[in-house]
């Protein structure tokens, strides 16, 4: 991290692929040696890779969550990178910083159904970043997550 202002310097908490067939993708990654986390269900699949979560989420649901429904195969829909922060106020601060840096807020800081607060911005190419504060996801001192 280069400065004290809230930003992207900590670890990427979740790498999420927006998939077209969740069961097929779950089976593929199981065959590749990844074990689904017990918090996985019929709507989302999590794999804990040592403090980073590799998640599978239906593409349309990811797009809807990111605030960019209907945008087809844009990069911002097919995958997202998430940074979980330890203070709720950082969510809005980082989104505002992204806007000043030339990004675009696609979903303002707001509460998702699963708790906490999250927002999304798109980088100059449209890649989706989620900034999330979620008390049910533990963060260690290095910013690594535990479901």
């Amino acid at each position: 991290m280069t400065d004290r202002e809230p930003g992207l310097g900590s670890a990427i908490s979740f790498v999420t692929l927006g998939v077209t067939d969740l069961a097929r993708s779950r089976a593929f990654y199981a065959a590749m040696g990844l074990e689904a986390h017990p918090r996985s269900n019929e709507h989302v699949v999590f794999h804990d890779l040592g403090g980073q979560i590799f998640a599978l989420f239906p593409r349309a649901a990811l797009a809807e969550d990111a605030g960019v429904p209907g945008s087809g195969v844009d990069a911002g829909l097919t995958a997202s990178l998430s940074v979980n922060v330890s203070e709720e106020s950082e969510v809005e601060a980082i989104l505002q910083r992204a806007e000043r840096a030339g990004g675009r807020i696609t979903r303002p800081a707001s509460p998702p159904p699963w708790g906490g607060v999250r927002g999304y911005f798109a980088d100059p190419d449209g890649f989706a970043w989620e900034i999330a504060w979620n008390p049910s996801v533990a963060l260690d001192g290095d910013g690594r997550v535990r479901l």
Copy 2:
């Protein structure tokens, strides 16, 4: 990891975005608080996020490296996830496993210009995974990388 066969169980070593304007993206992420690693240059930008590298690479170059040139805005071109392995033989083993699991090898294990050996497979949606053995990238016991 669920088994002993080489697979995807370890940490994701690199998250790479295939960007359309490297200088613009580098400036954006600098404004977001990320410091470019000294090994960055005019062809690629690296950011070390605590043992995981967040990289920016021109989209066409990423597609070419992944063995899928000319495939436009496919998911497999706009981003890739890399797992660095400690044994050269694991590259081929994991690619073969991906093929058996229903993936598609887009670049067989082969030496890139920057050393080591790497190959790519596409998952059922076309998401690109690189499996790399690179003696110039240090791996700790948890599979975290250091450039």
